[in-house]
């Protein structure tokens, strides 16, 4: 047990007593390199370094050649060989220099171990005393301690300075107001096919069919088209009406086995559109949330916490599918002031 450990020995308690401290092993004994022992190996290493530098030069020359030999034409496929061979040449050019330089240093340059002790980080006593003197003098000359009024008003100014940022950042972007709670769907809006906006007749939706639906009129929007589509996208499916489990209050939301659900996942908003015809499962590709289409799209598996919102639908006089109203709840993921259900 070393002297130091003995000094710190405690009578009792939980202190960990360090015994058998690892001693400084010092620098390991110098090992003579093979290139220092053998003339032949030294010449080999010499040639290796030169070969690496030559390889680098060849690589650079090759990338110039590749620039002309593999041009990018109107055929997009040519990007592939252009990128590949240009990159190959430049890589060889850079790696050749780098590996060559390191190999040179490791095998041929002197390999004697040297060490340089770290200087003390604590300043000398004189420097410390001089620094204190400077601070004291500055305080005396500025009167920072003596002039209470100035000192306190400075504190106030410094404390106030960051406050405007709270309001600047708070006002970033327009306040979404209630746009998160409503979509483009209105009473009587026809269900139309994504992306061309052809309205859908109920008779066209055969059993087992899936239609990717947008509200009719979406394709005519200009500035807000994507925002509205992101909220209003709907998946339309027809199943055998007898497998649909009735949900209280939603008995007339479907039409003859045709149901429409929001395509926006209630977890983080990916489009839920992987529909399995035989199991009636709807799968979200992002985090594997699985919804049961026949049971109000309740969550069967995965991180989503709410069922997908259902769009109440019916048909108009011409047989086209129309919305009865907007969704009865906000679509998509939770947000700050959305209620829990």
């Amino acid at each position: 047990m070393s002297e130091k450990a003995k000094e710190h020995r405690y009578e009792s308690g939980l202190a960990v007593v360090q015994s058998g401290k690892v001693s400084d092993p010092g620098i390991e004994p110098h090992r003579v390199r093979m290139t220092d022992k053998s003339e032949k190996l030294e010449r080999t290493a010499n040639r290796q370094v030169a070969a690496l530098f030559i390889a680098s030069a060849v690589g650079s020359a090759f990338s110039i050649f590749a620039y002309f030999a593999f041009p990018i034409t109107s055929d997009l496929g040519t990007v592939r060989s252009n990128t590949l061979w240009l990159g190959f040449g430049i890589t060889l050019g850079l790696l050749g220099i780098g590996i060559g330089a390191v190999h040179w240093a490791k095998t041929l340059m002197p390999d004697a171990e040297v060490y340089e002790p770290r200087h003390q980080s604590r300043s000398s006593e004189e420097n410390r005393a001089a620094a204190i003197e400077i601070i004291k003098l500055a305080d005396q000359e500025s009167g920072f301690t003596r002039r209470k009024l100035i000192r306190r008003s400075l504190y106030t100014a410094l404390a106030m300075f960051p406050l405007p940022a709270i309001f600047f950042f708070g006002g970033l972007g327009p306040n979404p107001a209630d746009t998160l709670r409503h979509t483009m769907w209105r009473k009587g809006t026809r269900l139309a096919k994504d992306p061309y906006g052809t309205p859908i007749k109920a008779s066209e939706v055969t059993e087992g069919s899936v239609f990717h639906v947008i509200p009719e009129g979406l394709q005519d929007l200009t500035d807000t088209k994507l925002e509205e589509k992101a909220k209003a996208a709907v998946l339309l499916v027809r199943v055998d009406p007898s497998v649909l489990k009735p949900i209280a209050g939603r008995e007339n939301w479907s039409y003859d086995g045709i149901v429409a659900y929001s395509k926006i996942c209630t977890h983080v908003g990916c489009p839920v559109a992987l529909y399995e015809q035989q199991t009636h499962h709807l799968l979200c590709p992002c985090h594997q949330s699985t919804f049961d289409l026949t049971d109000g799209c309740k969550v069967l598996f995965g991180p989503a916490s709410r069922p997908l919102p259902q769009l109440p639908i019916t048909v108009d006089a011409e047989g086209y599918l129309i919305a009865q109203s907007d969704f009865h709840e906000p679509v998509g993921p939770s947000f700050w002031d959305r209620s829990a259900n």
Partner: protein
């Protein structure tokens, strides 16, 4: 009382009339989604051969006359297109029960498949095998790509590399699939794939989608090696293991003493 007596044929007549009216009106109501494609003439001997093959290879699960059993669904009304898709892709006859019927080596010759498809098609009204003209890849690949991304890519991946579904099922990759089979899959919705009838994806749309898939088959990714087209998971795995591995290897070599 004798004059009030109904003919013994009256009941049968009423039933037949009822069937014709209800069946006829059903067919009329669904006329928009049905195929009236009669590209292949069906001969009686073909039907007879198809029936024999069906009895020997299919009827144990799908029942005599394709009425279905507890093991497999009815084939009445699925159409020749469905039978052709299942048999010519090697999914049928099924080898074993499971989450999904697997692709296996095809069990029949082209003539036998045509015979089975003709027989199954004769069981009810269903989509016929599309003609070569309908499935030719000479449509609009750009439009096909847009339709593919909206209707197909969520399961089959944006470049048709396939993807996982729930509980062991998966959407197969769509590389080098014969045109007719792509068309039939959209039309009939095999297994868990939804049906995309001609009102949803019109024959022109279907042609465009086939054109897009054929374009993908013939044109390699412009961005270099695509790592099976699986996207960020495969790419991340590659860069974390191969890329970072190379960097660590270099670092170790830089710090090692020369021998």
């Amino acid at each position: 009382m004798k004059n009030k007596r109904r003919s013994p044929f009256a009941a049968a007549l009423v039933i037949v009339a009822g069937l014709i009216i209800s069946g006829g009106s059903y067919a009329a109501a669904n006329a928009v989604v049905k195929h009236s494609n009669t590209s292949q003439a069906v001969t009686q001997s073909q039907l007879e051969e198809g029936k024999q093959l069906f009895l020997a290879n299919c009827a144990s699960c799908h029942g005599k006359n394709g009425v279905g059993t507890s093991a497999a669904p009815t084939l009445i009304g699925v159409g020749a297109a469905s039978a052709d898709f299942q048999v010519s892709s090697g999914r049928m006859p099924a080898q074993a029960d499971g989450p999904q019927m697997q692709v296996k080596p095809v069990q029949f010759t082209r003539e036998q498949i045509d015979a089975i498809a003709a027989y199954v098609g004769s069981l009810g009204t269903g989509p016929a095998i599309p003609s070569a003209d309908m499935t030719a890849a000479n449509g609009d690949a750009v439009r096909g790509g847009e339709l593919f991304r909206i209707n197909c890519a969520m399961c089959h991946n944006a470049v048709g590399a396939g993807g996982a579904l729930t509980e062991g099922k998966y959407a197969p990759a769509l590389k080098n699939i014969p045109n007719t089979r792509i068309y039939e899959a959209m039309l009939t919705g095999p297994q868990n794939m939804p049906v995309f009838n001609d009102a949803n994806i019109t024959p022109t749309d279907k042609k465009d989608i086939i054109t897009y898939l054929k374009y993908l088959d013939e044109n390699p990714s412009a961005g270099g090696y695509e790592l099976a087209g699986l996207g960020p998971v495969a790419e991340g795995l590659f860069i974390w293991i191969i890329g970072l591995g190379l960097i660590i290897g270099f670092t170790v070599w830089l710090g090692a003493k020369s021998n």
